[in-house]
């Protein structure tokens, strides 16, 4: 094994147990030092790469999305356990987040923070079946009574106060986020202001509904669309 090949192996895979490689290291101190340096570098790299904040509730969202996608198939009945597991996971995720999440000062802060945290969903174009919507709404204690024609994403998200129903609908100026927060009671319609988005939170029978869109988006139209499709008293 020539020096260049030995050096390449030292850095590429310093822990390789290949006998020829180990023997070469034993007889060439310079290469052994390079291998030691490479091992330390590998530990440093692994440590840095592991310093990534893992999103709370991700596994629940993955399972739920698989469930939603699979629900479009005729063999939906065999996937019901998946829904139950997803619900349990989301509930657990919500419980964990309750411990660690900051308490938001207002419903507007909480809603806008949620939009930014899950901003990738604004680009989604999923087909959401009526059956999936029915299940989602049941989980947050409401009932679907009409169609949501402009719907392009739907999911349950964990929050500090329980599950939030997260919808994205097509608006006139872009995607509009609709969040139903069953645990969050407000006394009156509340304006939501942000540098990129604007919104409005509406009191409902057992919670509140936040509608958030791009600046200039006519929100009342979306609110009326959702309002007509949901029985909030269920």
């Amino acid at each position: 094994m020539d020096d260049l090949e030995l050096l390449r192996r030292c850095y590429a895979e310093p822990n390789n147990a290949d006998s020829e490689f180990r023997a070469a290291l034993a007889t060439r101190p310079g290469a052994a030092r390079a291998a030691t340096q490479a091992q330390q570098l590998d530990r440093d790299i692994s440590k840095v790469l592991a310093e990534v904040e893992y999103p709370a509730g991700l596994e629940g969202r993955i399972i739920l999305r698989a469930d939603l996608r699979a629900a479009r198939r005729p063999s939906i009945s065999r996937l019901l356990p998946l829904s139950l597991v997803a619900a349990i996971l989301l509930t657990l995720g919500a419980a964990l987040r309750y411990i660690s999440l900051p308490q938001y000062g207002s419903i507007g802060d909480e809603a806008v923070a949620h939009v930014y945290r899950e901003i990738a969903h604004l680009d989604h174009q999923l087909e959401v079946t009526d059956a999936s919507m029915d299940r989602l709404m049941r989980k947050v204690g409401i009932r679907r009574i009409g169609q949501l024609d402009k719907l392009r994403f739907a999911a349950l998200c964990p929050s500090g106060q329980g599950s939030i129903m997260h919808l994205v609908l097509a608006g006139e100026r872009g995607p509009v986020t609709v969040l139903y927060m069953p645990q969050r009671q407000i006394g009156a319609i509340t304006e939501i202001a942000d540098s990129r988005f604007h919104g409005r939170a509406y009191p409902k029978t057992h919670g509140s509904l936040a509608v958030i869109g791009e600046l200039g988006e006519p929100l009342e139209r979306i609110h009326q669309l959702v309002d007509a499709a949901v029985d909030w008293r269920a």
Partner: protein
């Protein structure tokens, strides 16, 4: 025998954290994009679950799916990756990484070209050998070793001996 649903749940619980970390670094530290491609990858895995016959090969299988998903996403949104502000990314990371050397190493990893960064991630996050990385990336084993060698040399050059010198920091 485990049901299809149970198998999928096991995959999610067993591999989602590693897949997310891999995606995070592939996406230049963009959390939203990383979560997006992880979710898309698992959806593809769910649809193709019957193709996975060896449970021991699950991690490599999932990471291969994720690499393809990232490539598709990269093709769709190539313009998003132009002129990445690495200083900006590093500044955000700085809040997490408290040590300067860790910060520099992060920055160095983000500055690596994808062809060099990818095998490094597969080795450090996936725990794969050069032979396994060669299979995942559809490359020769020698090519993988060369890329890993160059990637690590580049990191050493960029970070500097003070940051990763074993004698000064860890001795």
């Amino acid at each position: 025998m485990k049901s299809r649903t149970k198998r999928f749940e096991s995959l999610v619980h067993g591999h989602a954290p590693a897949l997310y970390r891999y995606a995070y670094w592939l996406c230049d530290g963009d959390q939203a994009s990383a979560e997006d491609i992880v979710q898309e990858s698992f959806l593809r895995a769910w649809r193709s679950l019957d193709q996975l016959t060896d449970a021991g090969a699950a991690k490599a299988w999932l990471m291969t799916i994720l690499r393809r998903e990232n490539a598709r996403r990269f093709e769709r949104k190539r313009f998003d990756y132009a002129d990445i502000d690495l200083d900006g990314i590093a500044q955000v990371h700085d809040e997490i990484a408290r040590e300067l050397d860790s910060h520099e190493l992060r920055r160095g990893i983000l500055q690596l070209e994808p062809g060099y960064r990818d095998p490094l991630l597969l080795q450090a996050i996936g725990g794969f050998s050069c032979a396994e990385i060669a299979q995942i990336m559809d490359l020769g084993q020698g090519a993988v070793m060369t890329r890993l060698f160059r990637a690590k040399k580049m990191l050493l050059d960029k970070v500097g001996s003070a940051a990763v010198n074993t004698g000064s920091r860890h001795g």
